[in-house]
């Protein structure tokens, strides 16, 4: 019987002008979003690769300078790559990069807001020149036209447009009583209508996206990341089911078509726009972060304090040095400077550390709060889950920046003893600098977290479906 309804609806579907416009437009938007995501993934891939090449190029340059020096070419103190302090602070650097995951095209997420490569030198990452992307703030504020957007915002709108009047239209058209005189229950009828719409919409969304993502990145399956695509598709289905369920529930209230449309739009507005924005506001109010302005000033104060703690520099030797001329003076003074300043900077950071730790603690508390309350809106659940699947979530970038901070300690530990003991770097040491590698969250971890999201979507969907189906029992079939 349901098969008959689906077939009948399919015929109606093909004759509906509105649908013949909206569905192809929807498909077009998805195709564009996939293209956009893939292009952005390509950009991230190219720029992280270029960042690593930049490191190699720099090291090559420094080694050829070393060759020159060994062959007796004259050089200045500021050109000597063997000087460990100067190398660690200025000449040498590592680019810590976060290459895009194979699934990055699924969601731009936070990858346009946070840098995917950072220059690591001696200086604290916090006080370094930033390598934020050159993105126009207007565009950042507007957000990307990616699959995440099409899914979270537009998919529910299309579902609403297609199903706000599945029952009310029959009522208003006067065909309802006739229809239900057939050997068919109201629930079968609704199921038939919804199934058809659901199959069309979900298969366009998942089919087109997966096709596009696989075409732009054929290695996903071979890399064993196919499950991520499956999880993504499951999330799409869960989200769509929730909205279809909601549409049925609203239809079951037996109101006018226009009232249904208003109620559903209000749900969309609340769940997609107001709840996330309000939660963001509450999170900020409950866990206010110390301002970055305060952190900047804290660092300055700590610098001054560290300097005061240190015994005054030996001005006598500097005067003596100044009496002589020549480059060796500069070399000595540079070494003295680094020997004094590097520990000084570490001391200043230690002084400022409690404020920075408070900032990080507050920030984690804010993030955790938002994470816990995401279940208030399926839109937030979906956004979080696809960010995890694409490795472009805030959590991914937090992970990256924690890894960069840890790596920087390695960088410092590598050079500091050499600076303090007045030892020049050897060629082997220059080549043997530890490298940075970003390790994304393990597949198991992502799977567990996204499974929670999927189950919560399923739960929400089941709740609205049960409510809708209970309500349908009391649906006034005739007249009113």
């Amino acid at each position: 019987m349901i098969g008959n309804i689906v077939r009948h609806e399919w015929l109606l579907f093909l004759r509906d002008r509105l649908l013949l416009i909206t569905v192809p437009v929807y498909a077009l938007l998805i195709a564009y979003a996939v293209y956009n995501g893939a292009a952005w993934q390509g950009f991230l891939q190219r720029s992280t690769t270029a960042a690593l090449a930049h490191v190699e190029q720099n090291l090559d340059g420094l080694q050829s300078m070393l060759d020159d020096i060994e062959h007796g070419k004259p050089f200045g103190a500021y050109e000597d790559p063997r000087n460990p302090g100067y190398f660690a602070r200025s000449l040498g650097f590592e680019m810590a990069t976060k290459p895009p995951a194979a699934t990055a095209a699924l969601a731009v997420g936070q990858s346009d807001l946070y840098p995917s490569y950072l220059k690591v030198q001696w200086r604290q990452v916090f006080s370094q020149t930033n390598l934020d992307e050159t993105e126009n703030p207007v565009n950042l504020a507007a957000g990307r036209f990616d699959l995440g957007y099409v899914l979270v915002y537009l998919l529910p709108l299309l579902i609403i447009a297609l199903s706000y009047d599945i029952l009310s239209a029959e009522r208003e058209g006067g065909t309802q009583a006739l229809l239900l005189s057939q050997p068919i229950t109201l629930r079968q009828f609704v199921l038939g209508k919804i199934l058809l719409r659901g199959i069309v919409i979900v298969s366009i969304a998942t089919g087109l996206s997966l096709l596009g993502v696989l075409a732009s990145n054929p290695g996903i399956i071979a890399a064993g990341e196919g499950w991520r695509l499956a999880m993504w598709a499951a999330i799409v289905i869960g989200y769509a089911t929730f909205w279809f369920g909601l549409a049925v529930l609203v239809n079951a209230l037996a109101k006018k078509s226009s009232t249904n449309a208003i109620i559903l739009m209000a749900c969309w507005l609340v769940l997609v726009l107001i709840v996330p924005a309000a939660l963001n506001m509450v999170a900020k109010a409950l866990y206010p972060l110390p301002s970055r302005i305060e952190l900047v000033q804290t660092m300055r104060r700590a610098d001054a304090q560290a300097k005061q703690e240190q015994p005054a520099s030996t001005d006598a030797s500097a005067t003596e040095l100044a009496a002589r001329l020549g480059e060796d003076v500069v070399v000595t003074s540079l070494n003295q400077y680094n020997k004094r300043v590097l520990p000084l900077e570490q001391r200043a950071e230690a002084i400022a550390a409690p404020i920075f730790e408070r900032f990080e603690t507050r920030r984690s508390a804010q993030q955790a709060f938002a994470q816990r309350l995401r279940f208030l809106s399926p839109a937030i659940v979906v956004q979080t889950a696809i960010g995890e699947i694409a490795d472009t979530s805030t959590a991914s970038y937090d992970r990256f920046s924690a890894a960069v901070r840890a790596y920087q300690q390695l960088w410092r530990a590598y050079f500091l003893p050499r600076v303090l003991n007045d030892r020049m770097l050897t060629r082997a040491e220059m080549v043997g600098i530890p490298r940075f590698k970003y390790v994304p969250a393990s597949g198991g971890e992502v799977f567990r977290r996204t499974l929670v999201d999927l189950l919560s979507l399923a739960l929400l969907a089941v709740v609205v479906i049960i409510a809708g189906s209970l309500r349908l029992r009391r649906y006034p079939v005739a007249g009113s």
Binding site: N130, K284, Q383
Partner: protein, 483 residues
């Protein structure tokens, strides 16, 4: 006649429970967002004022050190905000708030607040501007969609016209009623919002208050035009469409396309048309061009030698110690001037690229009044990208003066000394530091803002004029039944 119709409609709307609830929610959201905006603004401006004083004091009290070391020590500039920012945060969450002004580098402002927020930030901010730009139009749509089509469906339109009501009066009366209802809702909210904002005025820096009353007035006017567009468009749809339900569908689609689809699509297209280099490409290009400068500290570098020889020739001497100014001072300043050109070239190109992207998006306002009002509102509230660029430009001009004053002193005071002695032995003092004035920044004037927003202002006016013309035409030719 119009007045009678308006009064009748007004009473009807205000007695409708649905209107009461939805407008209460909108008003509550508006007041809540204004109050939170005000508290955020107050916290930030207090902190900023303290930080501005502290960074100045740190600069003055940095103690005896070489002028070049002082230039490296530098000062911080903190991006200010006008009190209207509490109403419309605009791009503020996506622009840096602190710029380090120091020797050698034109640093870009750091710490976009969105980077420290949760991912929820990307769903948008609940601000006064968001309520007025997105929620109030939706309220208007809900008020208007059935106004004519409903009368037609219930058969009352024929009655009304048969008793001699002029159809134009009927339509404009209804428009007036909706305008009155909105006034009832928004005027109290505006008064409360104004009071909230007024509490911020005493504490505010006078540089942030430039043209504030005029900016506020124009802002209010722009929003009136924006609401007017939605009233007239909604009324037109109610006449034009077959049924209330069709009118509602069409208006919802308009609201979604204008407020959600087009802003993103326009941003995306502007990026395609006018791409920007990656941060890495930009920084490598800057570094590459900067290294064509005189390399003041690298005595064996060919550029250094060339610059030294040029100076020796210029002043007709044979040793750097005989130059009338210290060589290191000359070289540092020459290196800075070379840097200025490099920064102007690359960062200037980036600013122009952003500018072209913005102009393109402003044109997209022809299809979306939301894009036009967003641009005008952020500009008048001092939270648009141009306010940010003005701030960045002021910071860079300040930095250039700072390094010039430092290098100038070094050049003159250490003439005849070796490079080492000049850089590491000579010490400047507070008198020198005080030669650099404190950093201040004037918010752009109303004239500048209007000039930058000619396109969105014209677009808003066009929308209003075109929609009124449409409604007039429809009012004249309206039929009782739609074929």
């Amino acid at each position: 006649m119009i007045w009678h119709i308006a009064r009748k409609e007004f009473t009807e709307i205000t007695r409708d429970g649905r209107f009461l609830w939805s407008s209460l929610i909108v008003a509550a959201l508006l007041l809540l967002s204004l109050a939170l905006g005000a508290s955020r603004y107050a916290d930030e401006s207090e902190l900023r004022a303290a930080a501005v004083r502290e960074t100045r004091q740190q600069w003055l009290d940095q103690g005896a050190k070489g002028p070049h070391s002082a230039a490296h020590y530098g000062v911080y500039a903190f991006k200010p905000a006008t009190p209207l920012a509490l109403f419309d945060p605009g791009m503020n969450d996506y622009t840096g708030i602190v710029t380090m002004l120091e020797a050698h580098k034109e640093n870009q402002a750091s710490y976009k607040p969105a980077q420290d927020a949760t991912a929820l930030q990307r769903f948008g901010d609940l601000s006064g501007a968001m309520v007025l730009q997105l929620l109030v139009p939706l309220l208007i749509v809900l008020l208007c969609f059935g106004m004519i089509s409903g009368e037609r469906e219930e058969g009352t339109l024929r009655q009304l016209l048969s008793v001699g009501a002029d159809q134009r009066d009927l339509i404009w009366g209804k428009v007036l009623a909706v305008a009155m209802v909105l006034t009832l809702l928004l005027v109290p909210a505006a008064v409360v919002g104004g009071l909230i904002a007024a509490t911020q005025l005493q504490a505010a820096d006078r540089h942030d208050l430039i043209d504030l009353p005029a900016k506020t007035a124009i802002l209010a006017g722009a929003y009136l035009v924006y609401f007017g567009i939605f009233i007239v468009v909604s009324m037109s749809a109610s006449i034009l469409m077959r049924s209330s339900s069709a009118a509602l569908t069409m208006l919802m689609a308009f609201w979604i396309v204008s407020g959600f689809l087009l802003p993103r699509a326009a941003a995306d297209i502007s990026r395609l048309v006018q791409p920007t280099p990656s941060a890495l490409e930009l920084s490598t290009a800057v570094a590459r061009d900067k290294s064509k400068g005189p390399h003041p500290h690298e005595v064996n570098h060919p550029n250094h030698i060339a610059f030294r020889d040029e100076m020796l020739r210029k002043y007709g001497v044979t040793r750097v110690e005989e130059l009338p100014y210290s060589f290191i001072g000359l070289a540092l300043q020459a290196d800075e001037e070379h840097g200025f050109k490099v920064f102007d070239k690359y960062y200037g190109a980036l600013r122009e690229a952003h500018d072209r992207q913005n102009r393109l998006q402003q044109l997209a306002g022809l299809f979306s009044p939301y894009i036009a009002i967003r641009s005008v509102s952020a500009a008048l509230s001092g939270t648009d990208i141009y306010f940010f660029q003005d701030f960045a430009a002021a910071g860079e001009a300040y930095r250039r003066n700072l390094v010039r004053v430092m290098n100038d002193d070094l050049m003159r005071r250490t003439a005849g000394q070796s490079n080492y002695a000049a850089e590491w032995q000579y010490r400047g003092n507070k008198e020198l530091w005080a030669k650099v004035p404190p950093f201040d920044f004037d918010a752009p004037s109303l004239g500048t803002i209007l000039q930058r927003n000619v396109t969105p202002l014209i677009v808003l006016a066009l929308w209003l004029v075109a929609s009124i013309a449409l409604l007039r035409g429809l009012a004249r030719r309206m039929q009782v039944e739609r074929q």
